[in-house]
């Protein structure tokens, strides 16, 4: 798992690639939160996430909540199929409120 970060104009773009799983959760929590600290708007690009489990999903939840508490914006963009499946199963796309392309067959 790697996170590459680009910042500009207070907007932080984080691109997560690889597995968003429990094996990488500890490191990822720190990275995402410190990104959030440094900007007013965080955009997480999920296009290269190959696998996501509940631990990975929880980190997105955490980031979303922390952003809201700090009055910052968090957007998830370019969901990969693996991430879309999780959002769909947990029925949480609406929680993040980002436009997503839902897979053709719902559940």
């Amino acid at each position: 798992m790697t996170i590459s970060i680009e910042t500009g104009n207070g907007v932080c773009q984080a691109r997560v690639a690889g597995e968003m799983t429990i094996y990488h959760a500890a490191g990822m929590k720190g990275e995402l939160l410190s990104c959030l600290d440094r900007c007013t708007e965080l955009e997480i690009n999920l296009s290269e996430v190959s696998e996501m489990d509940t631990a990975g999903f929880q980190l997105l939840l955490l980031a979303k909540r922390e952003a809201a508490n700090a009055g910052k914006r968090l957007r998830l963009v370019a969901h990969s199929p693996a991430t879309l499946e999780v959002l769909d199963l947990f029925n949480m796309a609406h929680y993040f409120g980002d436009p997503v392309m839902m897979p053709r067959h719902g559940h």
Binding site: I22, A25, A26, M28, K29, L33, D53, T54, A55, F57, Q58, L59, L61, L62, R65, E66, V86, L89, F90, N91, M92, Y95, H107
Partner: protein, 730 residues
Amino acid sequence: MELDQALQTFLMESRELLEAMEESLLGLESAPDDPDAINAIFRAAHTIKGSGGLFGLDGIVAFTHVVENVLDRVRAGEAAVNGELIALLLSCRDHIGMLVEQVAAGSAARPDKETEATGIMLLNQLKAYQAGVQERPLVPAAAPSRPQATVLPQPGGAVESGHWHISLRFGQDVLRNGMDPLAFIRYLGNMGEITHVITLPDAMPPSPEMDPESCYLGFEIDFCGDNVDKAAIEGVFEFVRDDCTLRILPPHSRIEEYIQFIAGLPEDKIRLGELLVECGSLTRKELDEALRVQETLRAGCGQEAAPMLGDILVEQGVVPPELVDAALGKQKLAREHKVQESKLIRIQADKLDQLINLVGEMVIAGAATSLLAQRNRDPALHEATSTLSRLVEEIRDSALQLRMVQIGETFNRFNRVVRDVSKELGKDIGLAISGAETELDKSVVEKIGDPLMHLVRNSMDHGIEKAETRMKRGKPAKGTVHLNAYHESGSIVVEVGDDGGGLNREKIFAKALEKGLITASQTLSDQEVYGLIFEAGFSTAEAVTNLSGRGVGMDVVRRNIEALRGTVEIASREGAGTTVKIRLPLTLAIIDGFLMGVGSASYVVPLDLVMECIELGEAERREIRESHYINLRGTVLPFIRLRDRFRERGKAGRRENIVVVQYAGQKAGLVVDELMGEFQAVIKPLGKLFGNLKGISGSTILGSGEVALILDVPALIQRAVNQETQLLAS
């Protein structure tokens, strides 16, 4: 197709396990407390049951299950090992073997009546050792559903929804344990339709305390499935029963059940109610009703809800620590065996046979190439072909080596035979094994089992005396049958010996006379007299027993051995014992031969039987023209003229040679025209037509495409020696 292959693996595996089981059971007779042996026996039954279940072999599973139960008790020290139990377990082993073989034979569906009856009888006998063991039914993979606290009927009707409502609160450790709520919910989705999911992140603590490896999620799920019952839904979450609070409301549950349900959840009551409505499990009206009823019941039973699922599980199965220790103390013996096994590749015997056939063809093709090279007198080509033949030779040896197995496994089977037969005969007889590591071709090993069986039984029955007689003769009361094997000049020798009474020359002679096998005037050596017991219809047993002594057997033994190009001889000392020596070729496929020409025909003898070659000068040829033996450095060497023996009509050669061959301690000369040198002969069996040709054991194809006959040296030597003796006698 694939499964069929797996079934073959299962059959092979079972046979091996049963063999190991037998070995360990026999070991228990001398060391009844050996934990390694007990473990090995348990594991054999355990594995056969486990794998048998996969193939739906219910008969095997059901029977082995009971055996395993008893063995488990033995392992735990709850049942004592004694002779009786060992005998019973041996019979059980045999029965499992029978069931396995019936599967192998394809009659998997039902064992035959006899087998079934044996099974029932054994199960009855096993009952005595099962006593005290809880009769547990075979549970399927899904855990049995636990009774849930039932709800007393209360006022209020059933809700409208025909869906299940499932409420999940995961414990923090689930993710660390490798259990992912995602996977469970996905699986649930495969069982029916998840009509609605609400994910509850409420329990997630503030960021600093949030452990990213902990799970903080809860779920409310509205689920609809045909033919789904509560146990099935519980089954989905069986692996997280300890780590999750699961509440399930069936379709059309009563309002009051919803009330209890809501009360049992950690979240705010009003919020939960809203969630249920959102999920579609309750209608708005039903929720209002529920909340109202709850108000009225507040003082009463409402607060204490169904006990947590997790709590129910906690006190499961406390097991005595001895059992654990016993299981941990792994069986050394089986371990060593397995270390070897992990280095082995299992291949089908017929694939190996095919390889050896191909190598055989290659040997012939190689010989053809060498021949061409020789004719062309091209030194470079000659060089190349000789390198090639050397390599082919190595490949041949390695290929044959692949098929070599140790004779030990065959020998070990006799532990059981000796044990059973000695009980049957009421004699105390032990088995001693030596040379177990001696290797021979698998095709040979498969065929010597029966002859060995006959010989061992014969030794026990006729060879070893009754204990009183033995004591009188100053021998230990316990008799010994000895199996031994070793290599000797290109053959393997297998010996079956006993320390019994030995053969009685006079008795055999008299018996043979009576049966008309010999005439009174014949003078016979000890060897020849002993050899008579291999004649058809010969038996000197005073009492015909169950086992041998029916006069069939020994002649069959000889025929079987001879069919393998082997010989049998007997050594015996009266009062001290008898040893039957079986001499067999190492392999049945290829021999290193020595090629000889007589007239226009070619003959091959196994190279390792050739002692030397002597060229006959003109004078010697004249000298021996009428005789059948020559003086070889002071000893008499009988010989056979192959030209006469096989009625070769071609013109006599200008030269003659004697090839001296030796077998089983006897020598003879073969007179031939030409010595053509060493040759690898791939043995082709003779067709039926030539099956009873005396003196020929097979044929082979030469590089030139011509056929050469492989001489049956033992038979020829026998003939030469007889000729000589007759001449000397007359």
